[in-house]
Each structure stands twice: as structure tokens, then as C-alpha cells.
């Protein structure tokens, strides 16, 4: 990450616009945000939410990359694409509204396929966030990002379900911790009948900033994690893995095999296909039938707007956290299921 712009001070205009967030994460974090360039792959509903959140936060630049064209399904969650733009490229169609969110951020659109981009392109960003990609694409992006010390995120939303994955390599960050309070000197009871003494000056709760570091597993290991449900320890470990992890695996596998998402235009066939993949995934992961509800196929079509908002909110905040190098990031998955209000942070593959 380039640190040179850190020297520049925030202007009065920026201070006014970002006032409410500077009061939360401080000026330093805001300066770092202003220096960050982000590549966002995939401009469906989740991509739109991520774009909105990080452009509002005041990053330096955002590249929207998507080779596909907008369709009817975008109307349920992709608010950056005007309805009149169905049939147009998603990245280009999202450009205008994204830019309007914050004129201080440089927003560009790229209609390429990420698979056709060379490694140098990927390494030119501070952060890469890939949505709507299959596992082959994701694994390659993760590998290139780690080579180039780029912060890598992946995420997707399928109906009521959604996930985020983060590989920040070895991530350094600052965390504020409370200093243990010094025992206040008690000078009371010296003189009887006197008003109880009060300190002339009350110290504010003291915090101190501690530098920390965290290591992340790569996506390949995270997705390939095997579970041994025969041992008690394996069972315990498995209990901590939310069902949504396995649902995510099934849907990523569908994407990988079909080169498309489950679609309402092929509802019944896709449901059948997903059921088959469910069995396979459970088998290869070595977990029992109850780790994935059979009726998940009822809830995984389209991208539900509120689910995009939840997952895109978490994803956006994690990108802000990583860029500002403040606070411990979620390592390494977040899973959301709108069927039971579950929202888990789970470490898989380490």
C-alpha cells in the first residue's frame, strides 16, 4: 500500500463530508482510505452494495469490472443500473450512479473478463474484491493478490444466503486497547465531617494503540477443508462451521460447472442440479446429511436486496478496516443466512 499520500492533510471539504465517520475511525484511517485503489469484480446486487459503501467512505479510486450484460434479475438488487440499461454492460451501466455517490472518488468501468487480465493488472490495486466468480477464477485471484501483497476479498449472494471471504496475507493493523486504570489515590477519611474530596481533574479513559499482526489461510485451503466427523475433536470443529459454508460450496460448484448462476428461468432443473451437488459436497467434505438443509434450494435463487445489503455492508466495512489498518479483521469467512438470521464469522482452512 502506498503511504506517501498519508502526509497530505484532510481538507476542510473532506472534513465536512466525512465528519461522522472521522469521528468514528479517526483522521489517520481517513487518510489511508483516501490513498486506496480498489478493483471490484462483478456488478450484480452484491457488487452494487460494496461499490456504494466504499465509494461513500472516500477511497481514492474504484474500478468496476464486469464483462456481462444487465438482465431482468438485476432489478431486484442492482440499484446502480437504471432499468433502461437492461442489455448493456453491467460495469458501464453502473458507472454514472456510482460516481454520483461521491465526486471525490475516481470511478472507472472496465468491460473485460477478469480471467483475461494479466497478473500485473491485478497487482496494481491495493484491494481486489471479487463477486460472482467461480472457484477457478477466485483461486487464481487469491494467488496473484498474495504474490503482489494485495488485500483479497471474495463474496456472493444467492437468494437468502451470502458469504464473504478474506485473504489479507499477513495483515498488520493497529488496535486500541484500554490501559488498566491506575488505582485512584484515596485521600478521603482524613478529616471527619469534611466534604468528600473530588479529583480536580478526571482522566479520560486511557487507551493505547497496539500494533498487531494476523495471518490468513489461502482460499484453496479454505475451500478444500476436510472434516473428520468420526473423532470427537473433529465433531467439535464441525459444529463451529455454519451450514451456510456448505451451501456456499454447493453454489460455487454450480457456478464453476455451469458457468452461470441458478436462474428462475430454469428453476426446476437448477433445483435438481443443486440437490445433486448437495450430496456430492457433503460426501467430499466428509460431513453428515444434517449439515445442509435439503430445502435450501427454495431459498437460493436471485440476489435478495436485503441480503446483499447485509453481506455488502460487512464486506465494505472489512475493506475499510483493511485499508485503514485499524482493528482486527474478520478471519476469514462471514456467512449470512436470511432463513434464520444467522451471521457468523468462522475461520476455515488454517
Amino acid at each position: 500500500m502506498t503511504a506517501d499520500t498519508k502526509e497530505e492533510n484532510i481538507t476542510e471539504d473532506e472534513a465536512a463530508l466525512y465528519d461522522r465517520q472521522i469521528r468514528l475511525w479517526g483522521l489517520d484511517a481517513q487518510r489511508r482510505l483516501r490513498a486506496a485503489s480498489v478493483l471490484l469484480v462483478g456488478l450484480r446486487g452484491l457488487g452494487a452494495e460494496v461499490a456504494k459503501n466504499i465509494v461513500l467512505s472516500g477511497i481514492k479510486s474504484l474500478t468496476l469490472l464486469d464483462p456481462t450484460v444487465a438482465d431482468e434479475e438485476d432489478s431486484m438488487s442492482q440499484f446502480l443500473i437504471p432499468r433502461s440499461e437492461v442489455g448493456k454492460n453491467r460495469a458501464e451501466a453502473s458507472l454514472e450512479r456510482t460516481q454520483l455517490l461521491n465526486p471525490m472518488v475516481k470511478v472507472t468501468a472496465d468491460t473485460s473478463n477478469i480471467d483475461d487480465k494479466d497478473d500485473a493488472f491485478i497487482k496494481s490495486f491495493d484491494v481486489v474484491c471479487a463477486t460472482g466468480c467461480g472457484t477457478t477464477t477466485l483461486k487464481r485471484l487469491d494467488r496473484v493478490c498474495q504474490e503482489g501483497a494485495v488485500k483479497f476479498y471474495a463474496g456472493d449472494v444467492f437468494g437468502f444466503y451470502g458469504f464473504m471471504f478474506a485473504d489479507l496475507g499477513t495483515h498488520e493493523y493497529a488496535e486500541e486497547v484500554k490501559k488498566p486504570k491506575h488505582a485512584e489515590k484515596n485521600v478521603s477519611s482524613e478529616e471527619e465531617g469534611e466534604p468528600s474530596p473530588k479529583k480536580a481533574k478526571v482522566e479520560e479513559p486511557e487507551t493505547t494503540t497496539v500494533k498487531k499482526s494476523m495471518k490468513f489461510p489461502v482460499l484453496e485451503d479454505a475451500l478444500g477443508a476436510k472434516f473428520d466427523s468420526s473423532s470427537s475433536e473433529g465433531k467439535k470443529k464441525l459444529r463451529q462451521i455454519p451450514n451456510t459454508f456448505f451451501i456456499t460450496k454447493v453454489l460455487l460448484e454450480f457456478l464453476e460447472q455451469q458457468k452461470r448462476r441458478p436462474a428462475s428461468s430454469s428453476l426446476e432443473g437448477d433445483k435438481k442440479q443443486l440437490s445433486n451437488l448437495r450430496k456430492q459436497t457433503l460426501d467430499t467434505s466428509g460431513v453428515s446429511d444434517n449439515k445442509m438443509p435439503e430445502d435450501f434450494t427454495e431459498y437460493c435463487f436471485g440476489q435478495l436486496s436485503p441480503v446483499c445489503a447485509v453481506v455488502g455492508g460487512i464486506l465494505g466495512q472489512e475493506i475499510i478496516k483493511a485499508v485503514s489498518q485499524k482493528d482486527a479483521p474478520h478471519n476469514n469467512f462471514f456467512f449470512y443466512s436470511g432463513t434464520d438470521d444467522g451471521g457468523f464469522v468462522t475461520s476455515i482452512g488454517s
Binding site: 492533510n9 484532510i10 461513500l56 431482468e72 487507551t207 466495512q317
Partner: protein, 634 residues
Amino acid sequence: MAATLKGVLQGSLADNVKNSKILVVGAGGIGCEVLKDLVLTGFKTIEVIDLDTIDVSNLNRQFLFRKEHVKKSKSQVARESVLKFNPDVDIKAYHDSVMSPDYDVNFFKQFTLVLNALDNRAARNHVNRMCLAADIPLVESGTAGYLGQVTVIKKGLTECYECQPKPPQKTFPGCTIRNTPSEPIHCVVWAKHLFNQLFGEDDPDQDVSPDTEDPELTAEAGQSALQSEAKTDEIGGIERKSTRVWAMNTGYDPEKLFNKLFRDDIKYLLSMETLWKKRRPPQPLNMTQLPSDTDGNSSAIRDQRQWSVKECANVFSDCLGQLKKELATQGDGGMLVWDKDDETALDFVASVANIRAHIFGIAMKTRFDIKSMAGNIIPAIATTNAIIAGLIIMEAIKILSGKIKSCKTVYLNRVPNDRNRLLVPCTLDPPNPKCYVCAPKPEVTVVVNCTRFKVGALQDKVLKSYLGMVAPDVEIDDGKGTIIISSEEGETEENNDKFLSDFGIRNGTRLKCDDFLQVYSLVVTIAHVEKLEEEKEFEVVGDLSELQPQEEQQQAANGSKPHNGGDKADEKEEEDDLMLIEEEEFEEEQQRMEEETRTTRKRKASSETEPTTKRSKTAEAQAAAGDNDVIEIS
């Protein structure tokens, strides 16, 4: 099309969404996000109400607004922006207060669901009551910084918003503000009081002069101070005049004001020697002999730089001049209203607070920090609002699926709890049978001194401010039906300055209090006492206080243990209702005090069957409470 596409929403849900009519209360941080999610998900009929206009500081998160919209109506601009996302939606926008009588119970009855996206307790209380009266499900929400929460309220099924007592307003004793400040906030409060004394509405509770009735002063000390006051010439004399009149007579002369406030009044305080036996005595300042400038980092923007005392004095001078002019434009009897977004008003408070802090040896603060304190600004970010709005819609979807019983209170944490949950769902509680709002026959006891408590205070401080009524009518339950307070203008105003005892109200008297708009009746039983603790004027007890020991018992039963951040799996499941609310800032001092950083938590045994969550988020709550960004109403 939206999400009512085939295969996305199950069964009749798609139709229920299409056919529902939704009221969104608030078009701010949460409201903008809620509106977006609604139109995309396929909701067809929406009404949104907000009395606020757009400010630059909204634009980092209220993404339906842009710079050119500043000063325009939030609800109207939000409507126009969101229609672009989905033009096939019928949206009606009201630029108005939801507490206005125009929005009566019949107005609320026309909706399938009400979604709150509010930023203050008064409006939340009111909408809660309206939804109870109309028997419409309400989804309530709030965010503060990184934290947020969503819950569902349904008459007879769940707790209402007011079933659990809220933490009391945080106020500072008058003598701390006037005589013995020890924290920056005390100086900020004093500075705002001074603003009002000089330019704003006269409020006897906001006196800025030394307080000779400080309980710390023994009778003797008070006497000697009074004597010295009598001796001093015009300085002592001015104590008898109002600060405003005196200041006007001097033509708001900066040096005269400065030397009175920061030299003579401080000397006077010093004469109350008892106060300074254990404290660092304040040091009077003379405007012509201020410590010299020690300007450090001048590269930082003005807001972020610590001003020197001399600089503060200059700002103070300039502000007096400007505010005097502004006041003059208001004409005779006019006044200014302090506003954190008014540059001069904020400059005034920042300079005055810092001068006073310097005098008392308290850390001085930047204008940026003083703005937070004086304006009670709660930090707010786009991501938290987006997440909470998403969760609101998910609860709304459950209600429309006919599964209101599976609705939850969901908390957004900053870090996952030890069950790995970042979003923590908790079972909804049944109504509190003793709730003074949603119980079948609400009752409450108010403790006052009937010979000293006025009818006006009963109306404004107890019934309106504390008990959340908008326009109360009060009748003494004495068989004669004496009406002491009427919501009709001009009927009972002459009673306001009379004491309760003037109407024969005494210990045990029952008052029938009604709010016609809220369709809410409450029986208030008066308990008379001579004196309340801590200078309190009144106390509301009875059913409310009975709740406290009960909770403590449950806490004990849960095997409550110290929460120091050590995250060990707790076998006993428990629920945390950390109710954090507030999305925006509050203008009112009272609300400011009330909503200020505070942690109260309620924990109880879990009734949920599935092995979910429930490990306490205490460590988190505590950590967050240190941030200045959490407003928790449990």
C-alpha cells in the same frame, strides 16, 4: 419485477410483499437504506415521513442525497431518488413530524407494517404507542457507530418499546457545572448555558454564576461568601441582575464580560474556600494578561488544532460581536437558538469551554471534539446502516410470511461473540404485564413534594418528557373530575404555576392521564415526600422499580460472572438485550444528556430452543461503551 420474480420469494410471500402497504418513519441513515431495499424487493406501496432537511454531514452515508440536495426535505428527495431504482412503486413522502396530530391512529391503521428508522427516543416512544393503538406490527431499529440492532414489536405478543425501563437522563448537578467542574464536558455544558444566558432562551436551570447553595458549602462558608459578595462593589451587585440584562447594558463588551466571567466570578468562587480544600483551586484570568501563544501544529485544519487561551479569548471576542449583531436582527425580545452547525455558535462554545477548562486545570479540547460533546454527535457510517436496514427487511419478510413468532431481536456486534456470531439473534420477549404503556390498565407512581411541585412541571417534565405523552389531559380521580391539565389551548394554562397541593393533590391521589392522539390512558398515583435524593424534583417508581430486583435475580440465576473480555464458552445460555439506538445527533440538551454513552444491559435466561448464541456480548458492550458511540437503551 424486483424480487417478486419467480423462485426468489416462496409461496404467497411474493404476493404478500406486493400487496402490503409500508410506513417508513425516518429518511435518514437507516431510512435511505430501507427505502432502497423495499423498492428492490418488490414492495409496491410505501409512505415515508421525516421532518428533517439534508445536511452535508449526511452525505457520507445517506446515499439517496447529494450535495445539490443540501437543505432540501429528506423524505421528498429520498422518494425521488428511490423511484429511479424502481419507477413502478407508489411512494408518498411527508415532510413532517410523525408526532403531529395529523398522523392519528386511523392513519397508522392503513399500513400492513411500520418500519422505524428513527434517531430519538421521543419519536420512538410515540410510534410505539401509535402502533400498539392501531395494532400494527412495528420493526424497530437503531445504530451507533459499528453497532446496531433490529427488533419486532407486536401488541400482546412481544415486549413493546417501553416495556423495559430506559436508563435515566444523564444530568450534571448544577453545582458541578457552576462551581466545581472537573471534566471537559462540564465546561462545555457551562458554555452552552452561557450562550443561552447571553443570547438564548432564559432558563433558570441554566444559571452560570457561582452557586452559593452548593451542598458542599457549610452554612458558615456560604455566609462568608455572601458577606464578601455584599462587600464587592458592582461585581457583587450584578449577581442580582440577570446575566443577559447586565451583558446588554455593557453592549456585550468582550473585556467586561471576560473579566466578569473568568476573573471576578472565579475570584468569588475562590472565596468559597471549602470547595478548594481538596481540589485544585481555579485560577482567575485577566483578559489583558493572558498566557502567551504557544502555537504548535498550524498545518492542521482549524477544527483539529488545539487553540491557545489567547486564541480562545480572541474567538470569544469575535463571537460576541457577531452574535450581538445576530441577536439585534431578531428585534426586541428576540433570541438565538444554539445549533452545533452554526459556526459562530460553535466557536463561542468552543472558546468559552476551553477558557473555563484552562482556569480549572481541565484538559482543553479541539473544536472538533467540542462539537461532538456539545452537539452530542453519534458517529454514523454507511455500512452499519446498510446492514441494519437489510435486517429490518428480513424481519419484515418474516412477518409477511406469517411467521411473526419466529422474528428475533438481532444485534450487530463489532466482533463475533464466542459462538462466532457477528449477528446475534435473540428470542423476542412477551409483554411486560406491568408495562406502563402496553399493559391493559397502565399505572405508574410518581414521587414528588406536592407543596413544591407545580402543575406545569407535571405536564412538561413528567407526562411529556419522562412518560412520553404528546398532549396530555389530566383529571383528578376525586369523584368531581377536576381537570388540572387540558390539551386544549387556553383552558388550563393558568394552573401551570400552581402547586399540586393547591388542587388538594396529596399522598395517594390518583390522576387520570390521557393522551387522545396516542389513544393512551395512564393512572398516575402521587406519592408525596418532603425531599428526594440528589436534588431530584420527581421520581417515577412503582411498577418500574419492581422490575429491577427481578432482573438481578435472574442474573444471579444465570451464574453471572465478571465480564472482562475473557471469552470462555458459557454453558448457560443467556440473552443480551443490548438496545442500542440512535442514528443521528440530537439537538436538545436534555436528549443529549439522556442518550449519552451508557451501558445498561439486561440478561435473562434463554427460552430459545435451538442452541443459538446467547453468550454475552458484555465484553463488546463494555469496550464499545468506551467509544463514545454507543447509546444503549435496554
